[in-house]
Subunit: 497 residues, 2 copies
């Protein structure tokens, strides 16, 4: 008998009854068919580590009910005619799955399965590569595991009551207070802790805001080049997306000022994704002024703002907002750990209740254990110390990367703005397409992430977002040298394009 029969020795139910059920179900669902031979009681008892009496009891009941037949001298078989109450099941259900007639998807689901948006999804993690310049990676070797682990330990001690309940709406109060203090001090965000809602990463905040405020067909604006996940969220929701060009001062806000139909704009003012530009104060004020005149919600995604290496940090849009139109979103994916799914949004008063209810309806709140651990980490001062330390480490790694790129590639490379974050945008002036560069780099053991996914339209020459967060400092120069050896000689000897 090929059919798996599951018997649970820990169950409170008698073993013979379990076996009876398992065989009966196998018959009813067609896994055992009329005429199939069953194993002898002794054999089955051994296979399932049951006593022979147990198996015999089950067989007796199955035979009494007409599911199986014992033939003297020949063995036990599934009955050719099943009991009447079983016929519906057997007649109706024993046939091959008709996979062509699958249940249909929603409009959103159709967009998801179409593959049309696949290039905007988070790229697959590459396998083992020698030099991994993926963007947005943190430096794992420098993560203060001991400090973090003891914050988790303290949380498990202090937050027991909290862990025994569903998470409080909005978030774990100690964490809300820590965040409010931190962002007031470092980002000029004006808020009470009650205006903060914890989410499982910025992405969830973006989705909840979109679900709460936008109907399919509504107009939204995003930066171009810009954050792929924002375009993914808006595109799959059937929104009309306006792409606003970006220059050295960030989003070109003046392109928006005559639009009255845009309901939400997504912007990365501290550190434009992917160019690294900082939205100038003049543009910030113009953006807020326009948003107020057209009642457009401004979603300020302040990712990476912790890592600024020079130049003047500019106060958040939220801190400049006097109309309650800015939703500020922050994340701990880079400043603590990406595997920790905690982000937050700061909401204007009138959106607090709707957002918190939307979050609660979606997933009943974010894990208390993580929230409590992060609150402990922040309250102890370790979070700020960690940020300060990593800022120096990342600044040095950025310098190593930029210096190596300029040394190895000379005029073949153009390195973008680099006063903050964990990546630089790099343009290679080489006679290769994006794909050729990726393949040549890959063959030489260097992983590069193509930049085309950041652009609404094809971009020439090819651009890459190179991360310096992940690789160890002493590997950066070697990686760039390797990359150059795969790309540069060709430009001097045998141009391909």
């Amino acid at each position: 008998m090929e059919v798996l029969l599951r018997i649970d020795p820990l169950s409170s139910e008698a073993l013979h009854r379990q076996l009876y059920d398992a065989v009966r179900t196998a018959i009813l669902t067609g896994r055992l068919r009329p005429g199939d031979k069953l194993p002898a009681t002794r054999v089955l008892a051994e296979q399932l580590s049951l006593s022979r009496t147990t198996v015999a009891e089950a067989y007796d009941q199955l035979q009494a009910e007409g599911y199986i037949l014992g033939k003297h001298g020949s063995g036990t078989y599934v009955a050719p005619d099943l009991p009447e109450d079983a016929s519906l099941a057997v007649n109706g259900r024993v046939h091959v799955r008709r996979s062509a007639e699958q249940p249909s998807f929603s409009q959103w689901g159709q967009k998801i399965v179409s593959g049309e948006y696949l290039h905007l999804a988070r790229p697959e993690e590459p396998g083992d590569v020698e030099f991994d310049f993926r963007p947005h990676r943190i430096d794992g070797d420098r993560f203060p595991w001991q400090t973090w682990n003891s914050a988790v330990e303290r949380a498990l001690e202090h937050a027991r009551e909290g862990l025994l309940r569903y998470p409080p709406s909005g978030g774990y109060p100690e964490l809300l207070t820590q965040i409010a203090t931190h962002i007031a001090r470092h980002r000029g965000v004006n808020c009470f802790p009650e205006q903060i809602a914890i989410v499982n990463g910025t992405q969830q905040g973006l989705n909840l805001i979109a679900e709460l405020l936008l109907q399919p067909g509504d107009h939204v604006a995003v930066e171009d080049p810009g954050y792929p996940a924002a375009r993914l969220v808006f595109g799959t929701r059937g929104l009309q997306v306006t792409y606003v060009p970006v220059d050295g001062e960030g989003m070109e806000v003046d392109r928006l000022v005559h639009r009255q139909d845009i309901k939400l704009v997504h912007v990365t003012p501290s550190h434009q994704e992917p160019t690294g530009a900082t939205l100038s104060l003049g543009r910030r004020l113009a953006l807020l002024d326009w948003a107020e005149r057209s009642w457009c919600v401004v979603l300020e995604d302040d990712y990476d703002s912790e890592f600024r290496y020079e130049g003047r940090p500019i106060e958040s849009l939220q801190g400049l907002d006097s109309s309650g139109l800015v939703v500020y979103a922050g994340t701990f994916s880079k400043s603590v750990l990406p595997g920790l799914r905690i982000g937050f949004v700061v909401l204007p008063d009138h959106l607090v209740q709707p957002f918190v209810m939307a979050k609660s309806l979606w997933d009943s709140g974010t894990s208390v254990m993580e929230q409590a651990a992060l609150a402990e980490f922040m309250a102890s001062g370790e979070y700020e110390r960690h940020i300060r330390r990593m800022r120096r480490i990342y600044r040095d790694k950025r310098d190593l990367l930029v210096t190596a790129l300029q040394r190895c590639f000379g005029s073949h490379v153009l390195v973008g703005q680099r006063h903050g974050g964990l990546n630089v945008l790099v343009q290679f002036n080489l006679p290769y397409s994006e794909q050729e560069i990726v393949l040549r780099a890959g063959a030489a053991g260097v992983y590069l992430q193509p930049g085309s996914r950041y652009f609404a339209q094809r971009h020439d020459p090819p651009i890459f977002l190179l991360g310096f967060g992940g690789p160890a400092a002493n590997r950066i120069e070697a990686g760039v040298t390797r990359l150059a050896s795969a790309l540069v000689p060709a430009t001097q000897s045998s141009p391909v394009a």
Copy 2:
């Protein structure tokens, strides 16, 4: 000067530059108005713990750019006429927030803010009450903190690489394997680990399935009485909800068999929420047969299935399904901790990729730390030991509750099915309305959760879902006695209704 100026001594930016920015921004946003007097350099230096030179430098630059004016012998003032590049900001933005003209909500958002569905949301946690019979609470005193904490510790050790990355799509592989083994063994669920997707609780699974498969206006079916959160999710999404009555054998499936228009049915077959009924095998087969004929997705919510005290457990619907129409949902909220937001869904093949992408699009995956900790807890065998131990504890507490109810209320109480879970459905035959019972109980220090939220329509006489998981065993009888003293005497002396 009432305006808060934020200076960050940890910032890499010079202090005088920070102060310059802070004052300039305050002027541009109208927090400081033309003619406002600024504090003397000495005073401000003291307030902000800066040197007087720093303040003087900032004031000098502000004055050079025309933002402020120094008047000899009188002090320093915001300039009456601001520099030209600032005028847009000041003219456009310095006015009171027009709260009447808030951005509009989506149709979903409107349903959320309307309050129409508020009674279906998770009820607020009550404050301190002497006897708390809320349903779905676990026994915190018996939770194996030490074992859990050491699972977390091991996870932080073993899962470092995982924590440094975004969570893998679908879930943390070790956890998927543990879950697949557990549910095959105990719930008769047939699946490969790859068919499992981790979600932040069942609620998120329900939302993702609905978002993926259903359009507003589509028909769905739910049990009545039934899980309020399912009705909340479906109602706010603009779906047409059919309520299928429940009797002692669970959902009355024969009410559905002539319907061809239902795209999804939500069902709790192991332990019907809230009646505790088990869907009979005959009905399971009939449900699957109908679902296959009408291509209806069956969302099997197997909550509470770990805690079954007697009677035969019946194999999951998923294990009986041969058409790939069942989505099985499980949770660790009761079997481990509610503050741990981990649930999972088992998907038929053709839904695996769409679901995983939907989850990734929504929040980039569930926390690695929690997933790894749970995987350690399961792999060590502690999870099964915990379940077995709690099953005995909860069974005893259930007996205490039921015995006390029958002793104290006699014929005034009808206790529903009770072979599993953490609650019993109780009908009080008393001359009081639901609200009167809640208030009288509350005044006597007993928290009861009204059952009306489980019903599509008003239900008489009033029904309550009483939880025995939370209160300590030695408090259960005292709580019921207290409840009876608040409710029963009146029925004998002064009927109110």
